[in-house]
Point group: C2
Chain length 216, copies 2
DNA sequence: ACAATCAATTAGGTATACCTAATAAAAAAA
DNA sequence: TTTTTTTATTAGGTATACCTAATTGATTGT
């Protein structure tokens, strides 16, 4: 049984990501996320289980310690790649996701170290998500969605949970990027928009959008 | 018929490299270089031919214009990757080949441009080999092996045709790297060693080794 | 010229990762 | 509770890229 490492990495990474919303990840959700058919995923999950990378129970799939470790390595490589792309190669934050998805599988442990060193051991990716350290230790700050803030509350953007380039461009155009301070001036009722003030300018922001911006 | 692009790139790159010594490349030579069995290569070559990437004659395989173009793109990405690794990530020249072999298949046209721009459009890889431009134009200088020089001749190293890390480390330790000036002090008869002078120091250099160092 | 050698292909078979269609099992709605 | 719907798996099948063993074809040596 020969392993197709990139494929395995892809699965582990997806499971890792989905676990954050839904603990044991369902086959269907995973299939949807990977854009594969449910039976394909069902089959592959069996293989991952036989390699002791996941536990497959009635309720769904979850990563074993080993699988979690591997997933975090991939996440680390993904986020380091993104930083390499923005900080050194001059990419914009909305252009890096897809590139990093390809790069992450071509990066050796040595290259991982070198990138981290050359970038001064960055703690987050360009979207503000933490980069796990070499041992898979990941420090996540306590955050809440911007959409939960009340009128007159002020906060600092920690990260932006969004991959769509168009949306990222839009957010960048408003200055809604990590480490920026935001003041909520007004919150419309019935799930209406927020009026926010970002570095001197005032904008109306939809709830949907605001819920993807995490602040502290 | 779905294409496994990295695999195809690997084949084209090998054919491209081997063509420089042996014009129509033989199946067996290709198989040896790719570390695959002859029948596997035979079969794959048929597929490449059906995609009009190679011409398959009795004497062997050669790249079509289309195949040549694709091969040069891969070579460009390989050599740009090597430069990225040395110039930005601090790798040594003996450490980059294998890494670049993985990276070259994960680089998009856009990333190719960005790397080139960030590095100031380098003309060669760390071993002195020319980097084809975007259109596949490759300017190769007229060179000859260091081993062909006569006593008292002086030359400048253009490139080093070698991939083995140990050998590259050795050459670097003697200062035998691109752009360095070398004076041949003496040439032993019957294929014996050359006595060369490199930046003030004198070394004995085997013929075999010297033949891999190209000078102008 | 003929046998020996070497190169290339054909034949037949493996593993991986995917698919659709059909079925079984579990959860939600009536 | 029974039906409907959703979710997961089995069954069966495809394509790709590899393999070994056997065969054909070309080259070389005597």
């Amino acid at each position: 049984m020969e392993a197709d490492t990139p494929r395995i990495e892809e699965y582990l990474e997806s499971i890792y990501k989905l676990q954050q919303e839904q603990h044991p990840v369902s086959t269907s959700r995973l299939a949807e996320h990977l854009k594969l058919s449910a039976p394909s995923v069902s089959e592959m999950v069996k293989k991952l289980a036989s390699k002791r990378l996941v536990n497959h129970t009635e309720k769904g799939v979850c990563l074993t310690d080993e699988g979690n470790k591997m997933a975090k390595i991939v996440v680390r490589r993904h986020r380091l790649s993104e930083r390499l792309l923005t900080d050194i190669l001059g990419y914009k934050w909305d252009e890096v996701h897809d590139e990093a998805c390809r790069l992450e599988h071509a990066i050796s442990p040595q290259m991982e170290d070198r990138i981290a060193l050359s970038l001064g051991n960055p703690k987050t990716c360009p979207h503000g998500h933490p980069i796990p350290d070499k041992n898979g230790v990941l420090l996540k700050e306590k955050v809440r969605p911007l959409s939960e803030l009340k009128a007159k509350q002020k906060a600092i953007i920690v990260n932006v949970f969004e991959e769509d380039p168009k949306m990222l461009q839009y957010l960048a155009s408003l200055g809604l990027i990590p480490d920026v301070s935001v003041l909520v001036e007004e919150v419309a009722p019935f799930g209406g928009p927020l009026i926010v003030c970002v570095s001197g300018s005032r904008y109306a922001l939809g709830r949907e959008v605001a819920s993807k911006i995490k602040v502290k």
